[in-house]
Amino acid sequence: MNKINFLKPNKDNFYTYFYTGGFLFLLSFLDVFLNSFFKINITSFLPEFLSFMFPLIIGTIGLHLIRIEYSGLKNLDLLNKHINTNNFNAILTLLIIFIILKSTPQTMSWFILDATISGDSKEACTGSGACWTYIKIWFNRFMYGMYPNEFQWRINVSFIILIALAFVGYFSGEKLKKYLTFYYVIIYPIIAFIVIYYLISGGHFGLEWIETGAWGGISLTFIVSFFCLIFCFPIGMMLALGRRSELPTIKYISVGFIEFWRGVPLITVLFMSSVMFPMFLPQDFFLDKLVRVIIAISLFEAAYVAEVIRGGLQALPRGQYDAAKSLGMGYWKMHIFVILPQALKLVIPGIANTFLALVKDTPLIFVVGLLEIVGMLNLAKTNPKWLGFAMEGYVFAAIIFWIICYAMSKYSYNLELKYKTDR
């Protein structure tokens, strides 16, 4: 970066360089634009190879000519400083822009221009683009799985209640602030469980019981992810502390636990949770499939969370422990008030990483017969009336997952900023 090979034309030549360069640069754009959007090749008179390379050559020359030091034009200086520092960067910039321009028309036409959304059967999809009709017709299934249509309001109501309760923190007064952690860590999950148990599962107060096998779609993704995130975090924290404990029993139990769960693939864990686990339980003891799956994923991810948190614990200087001890704090006070707040702050990116992986691992619960969104897609794509729309389905699922994960990652950035106390 330190050496930008600027051209240094004198004042008189400045506009010659600027306009020639600018013209060539824009010409290269025009060529690619016409070519990709309107299939017009304005350089067809040239030999094929030259015609193909024409925009790149022209564009590079153009960028070379406008690489003028202290031109006095703010935007031009910015351009030169950031993307037009030398010929190599100029070519890279042009290539990226050209590739985007070239691929835009196809993408646009598949997603929007040639896509179909009207109608309510496969026959409506005649265009060459995506068949969003398929998503539209199956939307309810993708949201709620096999949950009976007439009861779907129960899922909606519970999610609205839970989302509303999640925002309590924003409206609580100063006086209640100190109870918020307690609320979110202990009370809220309990409320969530009660709401889901009585409202979505039903079986009480005149609500019909709906077995967990019928739950599915995005709502199931949320339920599984939510409980797994909530459970795996405290378990992981305890394991991380346990692994650093001076008591050998606790230490080796933690090490063994972590190494066991990290060593097995999630899919086998899930399979065992549904097939083998019931065999070890007493005959009359019944644990729902969904509960077993949530426990299995929580324990599995807890091992990862534990190692991430351990990294944070080890990054803290020993002086922090010394200082806390010298003030007379015992093990728990030291960890709760001094060590963990700092260690957790350090590992927010790592925890976010693990949590994103967890959310994206939830489709694996299909091995025990629970169909969240990807599971529902797989079911829908084998429906004889709707064969051949796997692509639309997966794109839809990808978009949904991306939105969930992007929101989580944004939130983790905010947390990082919020707890950044060093200068």
């Binding site: 200087p317 002086g319 922090q320 010394d322 200082a323 806390a324 001890k325 010298s326 003030l327 007379g328 704090m329 015992g330 006070k333 008030f337 001094v338 707040p341 700092q342 702050k345 707890y419 106390t421 060093d422 200068r423």
Partner: protein, 244 residues
């Protein structure tokens, strides 16, 4: 029994095979100020870290204010609450404001109500002259200010004894004085202090006794005037000639 607040009897300590403390015997009377000096690696930091059991001694006895340091965690926490310590690297808690640094232990260890703890903290911060920084975080303060805050934090536990482990060694020269001034004021107020330091000016001004340690042993122990005017041991003489 004498009125010694700290009694150290035949204390030995090893790091692996390396013996850091050899047969240390020391009695510190109430309200006395002791300065410990010596070359680096002589075990002086380890000695004072043993007094609040940040390090464990393997042989001998350490009795602090009538409580013997042993495996018993309850005893240790009780002793630590009575013994304040200031470190070379300040070791403030970077995630808490200056005020919270000072009130954390009084609230959770001594169970003081929050308002009372804050009053106490402001009083101590006033004494070391950084009350106006109370709302800031440690990262926003200069080294000298941080160290003074660390002193205030230790004082908030209202300890009977204060230990200083090279409190000025990590500071820029122009900040040393402000920290030493705070320590001198504390000494004049009658605190029992054990200070590991290379600041001989400070030793001359406030110390009742100076101890010179080398290779894990107490080589020389004398009244301050006597120590500087008339050192007896050759190693002490050599050390003083290098440092003064």
């Amino acid at each position: 029994m004498s009125n010694s607040i700290i009694q150290i009897k035949d204390v030995n300590k090893w790091f692996g095979d390396f013996q850091v403390l050899k047969d240390i015997n020391l009695e510190v009377e109430k309200n006395k100020k002791i300065v410990v000096c010596g070359p680096s690696g002589s075990g002086k930091s380890t000695l004072i870290r043993c007094i609040n059991r940040l390090e464990e001694h393997q042989k001998g006895q350490i009795i602090v204010d009538g409580t013997e340091l042993s495996e018993d965690t309850k005893n240790i926490e009780q002793v630590r609450a009575e013994v304040g310590m200031v470190f070379q690297q300040f070791n403030l808690f970077p995630h808490l404001s200056i005020l919270d640094n000072c009130t954390l232990a009084p609230i959770w260890v001594k169970k003081l109500p929050k308002i009372q703890a804050e009053e106490l903290a402001m009083k101590q911060l006033e004494k070391v002259q950084i009350a106006d920084q109370a709302k800031k975080f440690p990262g926003q303060l200069s080294g000298g200010q941080q160290q003074r805050c660390a002193i205030a934090r230790a004082l908030c536990m209202e300890p009977k004894i204060m230990l200083f482990d090279e409190p000025t060694s990590a500071l820029d020269p122009e900040m040393i004085k402000e920290v030493l001034d705070a320590m001198v004021n504390l000494a004049k107020a009658g605190m029992t202090m054990i200070v590991v330091t290379h600041e001989m000016g400070f030793a001359k001004e406030v110390a009742d006794e100076v101890i010179f340690m080398d290779e894990g042993m107490i080589v020389e122990k004398a009244e301050t005037k006597e120590f500087f005017a008339n050192p007896k041991n050759d190693r002490t003489k050599l050390f003083l000639s290098q440092i003064l």
